[in-house]
């Protein structure tokens, strides 16, 4: 069995050697001007498939059947993606090499663009149209194309004469040899070490013993050289154009009622649904533009809490938003524009309904937030978060709710509270400790120990409701009143804090009961007028 594999390996090496020889025979138009031979046989393309399938090929198996154009941009690198998009008319296999490189695999496109020269001039004119300073190189491996392009002269404004064109693997090494090593963009320190050894060009580096090179400069550098010369495969990620959905519908007559507008939007929404489904994408944002005869365009923006791809659901949300709109004039045309598309992550369905024994929620969770927000406005729906500190007003805030959050206390909250204990408690030295409560209901016993550890105050001394701002209470004989005299319970808790930010408080908090039996959280200012305020209800 073992012998058989070895034989098979040998065979494959031999076959590919033959192929590369044959390939290099018809290799170069200009550099090694060999006679051109017929186009690759089916056997070639079959071998190309196997090379794609196996990412890591055995050493010595060259990558054949590919031809890459490397584009190096001296200026205009910010338009790299635009160039990549436009370059897709030459080949579907366009890869970005940020920050300033672009790679096109053009083997299959040569005959469509009048061969090498025609294609190069097409690519060059495309770059020139975008106003870039650039250099081109053609080579059978992507890395060598890129490196050679980096060494090239800017070709803007000149009639194209690409200086580096290698069509086969065999002459590649020879053509790469005079190029300076710095085009490989290795770290400067490594280049300096190589320069001290007298190694300044790629050819000199390739002549170094492999084992020693790997030991001194790392296997990654050696692998890079292998990819450069085609000893090793160099798979490149394909550039995909960022797509948006944008459809407009002109109406044959003007629409006034919201229902009619929604009906007019329906085909667009259906189209959006199939668009998203075909691309397995979802969107986070959808815009609807309604055009009028005179008045400026009405814009209706829908932001989603979680990516959505379901057209009917989007339609329902859009309906809620549109119902809120006041239209200045009848609508003549409507348009839908999607925000950036995000790849859909498909959640697996559960056997149980949400809320049933063992059933968890998935889409309903964010769907509810979206539905509420569509009608009530984005600020009307929020979650709660505890902040570190002693001043009751500053110990919580409204936050964006997270529908996808896993149950369990978020780590940053926990960290924040422990910070509170460390810093704020030091600055408020005289917090009176209210007597620790006894007789906790049984459901709480389990959770108390873990949750209240990080709180800087005794857990059950805080009211469940807080007034937005303390409300002044009337007083008689120095005691607070609210619909009658208040009865104070227990010892006060003193909160002094905030001297560092100008919103200092000095208060003595009491639990009080009013004549109806409602338990209140009141405080008395420590400063001169000693006024009483109502700050919370225990509920």
């Amino acid at each position: 069995m073992r012998r058989f594999t070895a034989q098979a390996d040998e065979a494959s090496v031999r076959i590919s050697d033959e192929a590369s020889v044959r390939f290099s025979d018809r290799a170069n138009v200009r550099v090694s001007d060999a006679a051109s031979k017929p186009l690759p046989t089916p056997e070639d393309s079959g071998r190309k498939l196997t090379s794609l399938r196996s990412v890591r090929r055995p050493a010595g198996a060259p990558v054949a059947g590919e031809l890459w154009i490397g584009v190096h941009l001296f200026t205009g690198t910010d338009a790299l993606e635009r160039l990549a998009t436009r370059a897709q008319r030459f080949t579907p296999r366009v890869s970005l090499a940020p920050p300033d490189g672009l790679l096109l695999e053009v083997k299959g496109s040569l005959h469509l663009f009048n061969g090498v020269e025609g294609l190069c001039s097409c690519v060059a004119s495309e770059c020139a149209a975008l106003g870039m300073q650039f250099a081109l190189a053609l080579s059978p491996t992507p890395l060598s194309a890129l490196v050679a392009a980096r060494c090239g002269q800017s070709a803007a404004g000149r009639p194209i004469g690409a200086p580096f064109i290698v069509l086969g693997l065999a002459p590649l090494v020879g053509q790469l040899a005079p190029l300076p090593l710095k085009a490989l963009r290795w770290p400067q320190e490594m280049l300096d070490r190589l320069a001290r050894m007298g190694v300044r060009t790629i050819g000199q580096a390739l002549r170094l013993p492999r084992a020693g090179f790997a030991r001194r400069f790392g296997t990654e550098s050696l692998a890079m050289l292998d990819r450069l010369t085609g000893r090793d495969a160099d798979p490149r990620e394909r550039y995909r154009v960022r797509e948006r959905f944008r459809r407009k519908r002109d109406l044959t007559y003007e629409l006034e009622s919201h229902e009619a507008i929604l009906r007019a939007l329906e085909p667009l929404l259906r189209e959006l649904g199939t668009f998203l489904q075909a691309r397995q994408c979802s969107l986070m944002q959808l815009e609807c533009f309604l055009q009028h005869r005179q008045a400026p365009v009405t814009r209706c923006l829908l932001r989603l809490a979680a990516p959505a791809a379901d057209a009917t659901r989007l339609g329902e949300l859009l309906a809620e938003r549109l119902n809120q709109l006041v239209l200045p004039e009848p609508v003549r045309s409507c348009e839908l524009r999607s925000g950036a598309l995000v790849r859909s992550t498909l959640a697996s369905n559960t056997l149980w309904q949400p809320g049933e024994h063992g059933g968890a929620v998935s889409v309903e969770s964010s769907g509810l937030i979206e539905r509420l927000r569509a009608r009530l406005g984005p600020e009307a729906v929020y979650g709660l978060q505890v902040l570190p500190g002693h001043r009751p007003e500053n110990t919580w805030r409204a936050i964006e709710p997270h529908p996808s959050q896993e149950p369990g206390v978020a780590p940053d909250v926990r960290r924040a509270s422990s910070v509170a204990r460390e810093c704020d408690a030091v600055r408020a030295p005289d917090v009176a400790r209210a007597p620790v409560a006894t007789g906790t209901p049984r459901a709480l016993r389990a959770t108390r120990a873990s949750d209240t550890r990080s709180l800087p105050w005794p857990p059950f001394s805080r009211p469940l409701w807080l007034l937005p701002a303390p409300r002044l209470l009337s007083q008689r004989n120095g005691l607070p009143r609210r619909r009658g005299a208040l009865r104070l319970l227990g010892d006060p808790e003193r909160i002094e804090s905030g001297w560092w930010d100008g919103r200092e408080i000095e208060r003595d908090y009491y639990v009080a009961v009013d004549i109806h039996g409602v338990r209140l959280w009141v405080f008395r200012e420590r400063a001169a007028p000693h006024r009483w305020f109502l700050h919370g209800l225990f509920g």
Binding site: Q353, P354, G355, E356, H357, G358, G359, A360, V361, E364, S365, G367, L368, I369, R371, L372, R375, L376, A380, V381, G383, L384, Q385, V386, T395, W396, A398, P401, H402, Q405, P407, G408, V409, V413, A434, G439, T440, P441, R442, A443, T447, R448, D451, T452, R462, P463, L464, W465, L466, L467, P468, V511, V513, H516, G517, V518, R519, L537, F538, G539
Partner: protein, 207 residues
């Protein structure tokens, strides 16, 4: 005696459903033993509308719910706990101290709180939805009750004491009055449970 055994045998017939067994519901413990015993399923029903009638806001009605809320928000499959237009700001540190998981709490401030209440109840994305209502018609409460059953949600509706005279389709109705050492809970209607009043102690809130 023979008549009794005759009756017992008759009742064993599988086609006969009795109130108590029909009303067996999934429930979550209230955290108060005395109250649990009086409720069908020994706790708050997991789906359906519960009315809590109070003489005025803040007499201890929320404390009554806290142990159950803590349990519900800490389940591995916990859903939202929605507060629809609460009269004041819920004080997050106190809720956390009572064991509630704040990540599961959602506040919705709505002008049309009834719409938001029904949406949340029926969405299936909530374990508990609480709302504070002023005046409601029986028809509206029926809609809410149906929505709660559809979404398998515990809906809590806080209403004024005066609503006790009206009939209501809610599956559980109780009145809460403050007492010096706690609160008195009077069950006005409980499907499959027994009515009566119980006194429960305070949550030890600083006293």
């Amino acid at each position: 005696m023979p008549a009794d055994s005759e009756l017992a045998r008759l009742l064993e017939h599988p086609a006969i459903w009795r109130g108590r067994s029909a009303a067996r519901t999934e429930a979550v413990s209230t955290g108060f033993d005395t109250l649990d015993e009086c409720l069908p399923g020994r706790g708050w029903p997991r789906s359906g509308l519960t009315e809590i009638l109070v003489p005025r806001f803040g007499v201890g009605e929320l404390s009554l719910l806290l142990p159950a809320l803590a349990t519900l928000t800490r389940r591995p499959t916990a859903r939202w706990c929605v507060w629809v237009t609460p009269p004041l700001d819920p004080f997050a540190p106190a809720l956390a101290a009572h064991g509630l998981l704040l990540e599961k709490i959602l506040i919705a401030r709505a002008g049309t709180s009834l719409w938001a209440f029904e949406q949340s109840l029926g969405s299936g994305a909530c374990d508990v939805v609480m709302a504070w209502a002023r005046r409601l018609r029986t028809r509206e409460i029926r809609r809410l009750q149906l929505a709660a059953e559809r979404g398998r949600t515990l809906g809590i509706l806080f209403r004024s004491r005066s609503a006790a005279r009206e009939s209501s389709p809610a599956i559980l109705r109780m009145a809460v009055e403050p007492l010096p050492q706690g609160a008195r809970v009077t069950l006005l209607k409980s499907r499959g449970g027994r009515n009566g009043s119980i006194e429960i102690g305070h949550l030890p809130a600083g006293s």
